[in-house]
């Protein structure tokens, strides 16, 4: 079924591409428009998706469904949260929190080791990028 799931996902993407391309105008063969290539790609992707769906409909003996580890899911949530809250709480706090979560997920450590390592990585990152390379980071609540 793994192929079928991929097929359905890409079919959705193809439909989106086709609808949007038609909306923006595909032009003619003599004068191809903005949606010409995307429409063509949408149609080809749709055909390939159908092949994947048909091929994946019958599960192959021995094939197992893909499982995602809880560690990866938590890490992904932490990463997206980081990009969404960095502006509000600032680079230093957001990075410290992210590093703490990731170190904890990667290997269980004593809490003081975990916090110490996270503080060190955050400090080095700030010094290297913020001070040496002069990247302007959001200060967030530490700046107000």
């Amino acid at each position: 079924m793994r192929e079928a799931y991929s097929g359905f996902f890409f079919l959705g993407l193809a439909v989106l591409a086709i609808v949007e391309s038609l909306r923006m105008g595909t032009g003619t063969m003599k004068e191809p428009g903005a949606g010409f290539l995307s429409l063509s790609m949408g149609l080809v992707i749709a055909v390939f998706s159908l092949v994947l769906i048909i091929r994946g409909w019958k599960p192959e003996p021995g094939s197992r469904p893909v499982k995602h580890s809880v560690t990866t899911i938590i890490a992904l949530v932490a990463l997206f949260a980081y990009s969404l809250i960095m502006d509000r709480i600032g680079f230093v706090i957001a990075t410290f929190l992210l590093v703490t979560v990731l170190f904890h997920l990667a290997e269980r450590r004593r809490w003081w080791v975990l916090l110490g390592m996270s503080a060190l990585v955050t400090a080095v990152a700030y010094l290297l990028f913020g001070v040496v390379l002069k990247v302007y980071f959001p200060e967030g609540i530490l700046g107000s």
């Binding site: 793994r2 799931y5 991929s6 890409f10 993407l13 591409a17 949007e20 923006m24 105008g25 003619t28 063969m29 003599k30 004068e31 191809p32 428009g33 903005a34 949606g35 010409f36 290539l37 995307s38 790609m41 949408g42 080809v44 992707i45 390939f48 998706s49 092949v51 994947l52 893909v66 995602h68 580890s69 560690t71 990866t72 890490a75 992904l76 990463l79 997206f80 980081y82 990009s83 969404l84 960095m86 502006d87 990075t95 992210l98 590093v99 990731l102 170190f103 997920l105 990667a106 290997e107 390592m117 990585v121 990152a125 990028f129 390379l133 990247v135 302007y136 980071f137 959001p138």
Partner: protein
């Protein structure tokens, strides 16, 4: 003679103190990237690019190119000592390199890998120096139909040499082309697939895509998993191979150099597949094929030379045509554009400082790499003791900060994370990243030349088949596109299966 004068001019550029430093930093980072599993040269270039915005373009490119070819040297260290390839191009080196290390011959294995890489890298450079300007002057005759056909052939070849399913590779190529249409249409100025997001008006930044697909996703896949990083407890002595070792390795190095260089020029082959082909070839040609897999020095010398020669070969289409042939050169092409260069056949003549400076820097870089990889081998071995649970987190943090620093905006971080998720899912569902990134980079050129060709021919697609050069490119493309329907034998697959045997 003219080439020699140009080379002297190039050395004049690279021997400036700042450029020597950038060259050293590049090859040092390259070796680091090669040694450390989980961080490829594509992700490393994307990661470092934002820090080079204030550096002169030529210096920045000297450093980024150093990462590319430097990674080929470093990759062999982990393969030989830990049995984990630091780079895909070093997978094959694990087979006989690790066996040699188990037999107490880690020194000669590391030595022949470094010397083979140096010899192949140097010969590759001579080839690059001679062929690239020739190809560039030839490409001045190209019109839109030739460019379309060339881009189409590049994409077809990439999918053909992939190791997985053709349908999946083709699908990734198409998704990459679709992604390349995001942003402002250069002809009509219509905004496409931006869904009101201003960050998408310029399309997908290659830096975010590469960092997400090749940096972040790799860590996400391995986070929390224990990785065997047991370094072989062996004395690394006798790094200089014996006379017998040289005798056994001379022909494999020569063959690896030639095969690697010419295949490196072709789209899709890159460094990884050439190593598989070189290994398969050495095994077939050997009088003692039974020695392969049990510590044959030929199995280290051939592939290690091939990947370095291929690394030089990839620069030919990149610098003379503006066509990338693998993931790393796609990112380098993106970097060229971001740093203000205009890739294409005019680049060598319009920016000789860049081209000849780069060539000279590679000669210097190869010497620096030999020093970094032989006397300083102990340093890299120590680095291998850093556990992946720490290294992986550091890679993620550098990716996040790197993405932020491109435009000093969290939108970039969000987009990069999104591609990290996409890359993770692609790996889990067995979709390859190379066709996608290549299509994303080649997309604007392909679309532009397709539309201009159709306008020229008043809508007739036969224009691609009536001009001799584009006809050749199209026929090659169609052969590679159609042949998997009739046969399951493909070069990538065959080479990998031979090695697995």
């Amino acid at each position: 003679m003219e080439a020699l004068n140009h080379l002297i001019y190039g050395f004049g550029i690279v021997l400036q103190p700042a450029n020597i430093l950038f060259c050293f930093l590049g090859v040092f980072m390259g070796t680091l990237v090669g040694v450390l599993p989980g961080l490829g040269s594509a992700a490393a270039i994307s990661l470092l690019l934002p820090t080079l915005f204030h550096v002169p373009g030529v210096s920045a490119m000297i450093m980024l190119a150093g990462i590319c070819y430097g990674a080929m040297y470093g990759g062999s260290t982990t393969s030989i000592l830990v049995n984990i390839p630091g780079e895909v191009a070093s997978v094959v080196t694990c087979i006989d390199g690790y066996q040699m290390a188990l037999q107490g011959r880690a020194g000669p294995a590391l030595g022949i890998a470094a010397f083979g890489s140096f010899i192949a890298g140097t010969f590759g450079l001579i080839g690059l120096m001679l062929f690239a300007p020739l190809l560039a002057s030839f490409a001045l005759r190209f019109g839109p139909p030739e460019y379309f056909a060339l881009a189409f052939m590049s994409l077809t070849l990439v999918t053909y040499v992939s190791k997985g399913s053709v349908i999946r590779s083709l699908m990734m190529g198409c998704v990459g082309l679709l992604m390349s249409t995001v942003g402002m249409d250069p002809i009509t100025s219509t905004s496409r697939f931006t869904f009101g997001l201003t960050a998408l008006l310029d399309g997908f930044e290659i830096v975010y895509v590469a960092m997400g697909l090749f940096g972040l996703s790799e860590v996400l896949l391995n986070l929390g998993e224990s990785m065997n990083q047991e370094i072989l407890q062996t004395d690394i002595r006798h790094l200089f191979p014996t006379r017998q070792d040289w005798k056994d390795s001379a022909k494999p190095i020569a063959r690896g150099t030639v095969v690697g260089f010419f295949l490196g020029i072709l789209p899709g082959f890159g460094s990884a597949i050439t190593t598989f082909l070189s290994y398969a070839m050495e095994k077939k040609l050997s009088r003692h094929p039974e020695k392969f897999g049990k510590g044959a020095i030929e199995g280290v010398a051939g592939p290690e030379s091939a990947n370095n020669a291929a690394s030089s070969g990839t620069f030919i289409p990149l610098l003379s045509l503006g066509i990338p042939v693998n993931v790393s050169s796609s990112i380098l092409l993106g970097s060229l554009m971001i740093l203000g260069f205009q890739p294409g056949p005019l680049l060598i003549n319009s920016r000789p400082d860049l081209f000849w400076g780069l060539i000279a820097s590679m000669y210097l870089g190869n010497v620096l790499l030999l020093v970094l990889n032989l006397p300083l081998i102990g340093l890299w071995v120590q680095l291998l003791r850093v556990p992946y649970s720490i290294l992986g987190v550091l890679i993620v943090i550098f990716c996040e900060i790197g993405a932020f620093s491109v435009n000093s905006s969290t939108e970039g971080v969000l987009i990069m994370n999104l591609f990290g998720l996409v890359g993770y899912l692609m790996k889990r569902y067995k979709f390859e990243g190379a066709p996608l990134i290549l299509a994303l980079v080649l997309g604007p050129m392909l679309e532009n030349s397709l539309r201009r060709s159709l306008m020229m021919s008043e809508g007739s697609p036969w224009i691609f088949f009536t001009r001799p050069l584009s006809l050749v490119f199209m026929v090659v493309s169609l052969v590679f596109l159609i042949s998997p329907i009739f046969t399951h034998e493909r070069i990538g697959k065959i080479a990998i299966e031979t090695v697995e045997e």
